[in-house]
Symmetry: C2
């Protein structure tokens, strides 16, 4: 869990990306880009999500569903599966649990009785608003080492990568 060096004594030192110590760790892999993304995201997401799990009694997919509903209220479970990559069994379990906790509502689609649209309840919104600040703060901390220009570049590159996921994400032969 703890990163390779304590943070305390280097808050204002700008470590160069070419620093040999870090390169050795991060760039020696056969899949350097994927490895680094994974490294960064693990440290962003795991501690946050673990904290939310224990503090609020939610599971991983439950957290992500609330996150998604907050900006795409009314989606169905299978739509969520499609754009999130989660497995439908897990999503189904999470949806049942979230409804039982009163955090979401399910409304059966009028024109297709199989589909259920999901909506945040007030309680769901309220819970979300209690855990999102920590995630936001942690995102800011993660990006703090980038200049405004670099952040914009980074976001644009991510937008481009994300937009192209459909072109390779489902290629099972890879």
């Amino acid at each position: 869990m703890r990163p390779i060096q304590a943070a305390s004594d280097q808050n204002d030192i700008s470590v160069e990306p070419s620093d040999p110590g870090y390169r050795a760790i991060l760039n020696g892999s056969d899949i350097p880009t994927a490895y680094k993304i994974g490294y960064i995201l693990n440290f962003y997401r795991e501690p946050s999500f673990r904290a939310i799990e224990t503090e609020f009694g939610l599971t991983r997919p439950e957290i992500v569903i609330l996150l998604a509903l907050h900006f795409r209220d009314g989606i169905t479970a299978s739509e969520f599966c499609e754009f999130s990559g989660h497995l439908k069994a897990g999503v189904s379990r999470a949806v049942i649990a979230l409804e039982k906790k009163g955090l979401i509502l399910r409304r059966t689609d009028k024109s297709d009785n199989r589909r259920q649209h999901l909506f945040l309840t007030e309680a769901g919104r309220e819970l979300y608003s209690r855990y999102i600040p920590a995630l936001k703060a942690r995102e800011q901390a993660m990006l703090a080492c980038l200049s405004a220009r670099e952040r914009k570049q980074f976001d644009q590159l991510l937008d481009k990568l994300a937009a192209h996921v459909p072109q390779w994400g489902s290629l099972s032969e890879l």
Copy 2:
């Protein structure tokens, strides 16, 4: 699992990052950058890792340990925990399993009997060489939409972000 659109019929269309459909999905979140990284990485990693799990009978941490040993042979379990963010209990289980399968060796540190250095065996290397090509191919597919210049930019930004992880990764208050 399946992305939001089939890949087949748009292989040569360059979707703009500002495309409203994608923006709606990806940029509406309160944590847009983290969300997009997670989205991209999920689609990269989950299918690959699931395939490796079932084909080679490895667990997630076992896969990652082999990956790490391949460019940092001889590290100890706790060093791996530090730079990977994995929990030590899971790593311990994985290490025991990997040794039992003959994929790694453990050598107790001469000067500290608590520590065990981990080394790939020939069988470990061989197994690694059977699953890494798919991961590499998938990384290439993921990055295919970026120009050479954009990829370089992206990697540099990731290097910078990765180098700074120690400054915030362990901040439990976030």
